[in-house]
């Protein structure tokens, strides 16, 4: 499967899981909203151009927005993720992208600790921005803080579970590809 087909397939799986499972199950508490769909943006290949990342992030967010009736909300957060992702990767792993042996960010490609840090920072950013946009409309600052921490916690848990359940078999980058 080529990268493009794989990622389009992934996008639909993430969106469907988010819309029909995670948004519909009774939440533990109104502060604990399980978000997982943005893992799509985190899993995009290293080789993508930065503009490509931005467009993919925007598309992913907007698709979810059309399902949840909040056009622009998740799109804005995902665009922010996609913009900051390359900076964070170069910061955590100071290597040229061509030197990577793996195609996508994964625990195996980056090592567990840097990968978890990478996921944690971007998750925190995503939720802070999302909740900040909601805060503008209603809510208090305390609500905002608790919500960000609670959603980040549940998202990290979900992401670690996903990583353990689906260890992606990453192909080595060969000279021909």
């Amino acid at each position: 499967m080529s990268d493009l087909v794989k990622n389009i397939f992934r996008l639909f799986v993430f969106i469907l899981v988010q819309v029909y499972v995670l948004n519909k199950i009774p939440h533990l508490h109104r502060f604990v909203i399980p978000y997982l769909y943005f893992l799509f943006v985190l899993w995009l290949p290293f080789s993508m151009t930065r503009i490509g990342l931005l467009i993919a992030g925007f598309g992913c967010g907007l698709l979810l927005d059309y399902f949840t009736n909040s056009p622009g909300l998740h799109a804005a957060a995902c665009v922010l993720l996609a913009y900051l992702r390359p900076f964070l990767i170069t910061l955590l792993i100071p290597k040229d992208t061509a030197e990577f042996q793996y195609r996508e960010p994964s625990p195996r490609a980056m090592g567990w600790a840097p990968y978890l840090l990478y996921v944690f920072i971007l998750t925190l950013l995503h939720h802070s921005y999302l909740q900040f946009l909601e805060l503008l409309h209603l809510g208090t600052f305390l609500d905002f803080l608790i919500k960000v921490l609670a959603t980040t916690g549940i998202s990290m848990l979900l992401i670690i579970i996903v990583e353990l359940l689906f260890p992606r078999k990453m192909r080595f980058r060969t000279n021909t590809s």
């Binding site: 907007l62 059309y66 909300l73 913009y83 409309h137 209603l138 809510g139």
Partner: protein, 292 residues
């Protein structure tokens, strides 16, 4: 000129980021204000077809409950049938005068049509339902939506050709005017975005006598909802010392988690009522000008 191109080429990523960010925020804020967004109609067609398929699967898990509810509803309707009642005295007859123009003739105020909920959430601050009827079937903005027991679910905010979006009572922007069934005092129903099992009612003065368990129904003064439809019962009473109004918590009659079949109710006289109100305002304005 060359410098501009160089500048754009250098900062193209940042500019693209800014552009997409502003586009997203613009969509968000314009949607929050008047529930319209770019491509929303087309998106509803798309999400609607997927939602419908998922809902068909989902239906299998609720069929038992839904069946019992419909059966109960049928039961209450069958009890109203004419054939259940016998007329005790056949010698007396009611004669109705048949004048051609009859000023007591009834006319239809509300039209009910059935619809199916295809997507529904209760977990967010702004919860919407999606129904499988749209402008093709005559659904318009601001029509009332009641569940199969006749209790208030919400109102239509956006319509595409085959689907419609409903703002449920569990939406922080939703305001429904309601009244107490016992005394007829009217107030407003809102939701604070906290617990899906409790909505709040405001605007009831503290001299009104009420108690926990009293019924709250839709007000007679609203254009969108048919009057005297069940909203919920009072769950707790507390008073706001600053304003002299009660703070009432209402337990909604609808279980928003499993709304399946609903009715969309159209007020056939709505346009006339709204127009009358506007014209009255205009008239009063003119009068106050001429009186001066």
């Amino acid at each position: 000129m060359l410098n501009i191109f160089l500048f754009i080429r250098r900062y193209i990523t940042f500019l693209a980021f800014l552009f997409l960010q502003i586009l997203a925020l613009w969509m968000l804020f314009s949607y929050n204000r008047h529930h319209k967004a770019v491509g929303m109609g087309m998106a509803h067609q798309f999400t609607g077809t997927i939602n419908k398929q998922v809902d068909r699967l989902d239906d299998y898990f609720h069929q038992g409950v839904e069946n019992r509810r419909v059966h109960r509803m049928n039961d209450s309707l069958l009890n109203l049938l004419q054939s259940n009642f016998s007329i005790p005295d056949t010698s007396r007859q009611m004669v109705v005068d048949t004048v051609m123009v009859d000023s007591t003739k009834t006319y239809r105020r509300y039209f009910w049509m059935g619809a199916k909920v295809v997507y529904n959430t209760v977990n967010f601050d702004k919860n919407y339902l999606q129904l499988d009827r749209g402008s093709k079937m005559g659904v318009k903005d601001q029509m009332a939506v009641l569940n199969s027991d006749g209790a208030v679910v919400g109102q239509v905010v956006n319509v595409s050709a085959n689907f419609s979006q409903v703002m449920s009572l569990l939406h922080v922007q939703s305001i429904v005017s309601a009244s107490l069934k016992t005394t007829g005092e009217s107030g407003r129903i809102r939701w604070d975005g906290k617990h899906p099992g409790l909505i709040s009612m405001e605007g009831i003065a503290r001299n009104v006598i009420l108690k926990v368990g009293d019924t709250v129904v839709t007000s007679k003064y609203t254009y969108n909802f048919p009057p005297d439809k069940f909203i919920g019962t009072i769950a707790s009473v507390s008073s706001d010392p600053a304003t002299g109004f009660y703070l009432l918590k209402i337990r909604p009659a609808v279980n928003f988690r499993n709304v399946q079949q609903v009715f969309i109710v159209e007020n056939l006289m709505r346009d006339e009522q709204v127009q009358l109100e506007k014209e009255t305002e205009k008239k009063m304005d003119q009068q106050s000008k001429t009186n001066r």
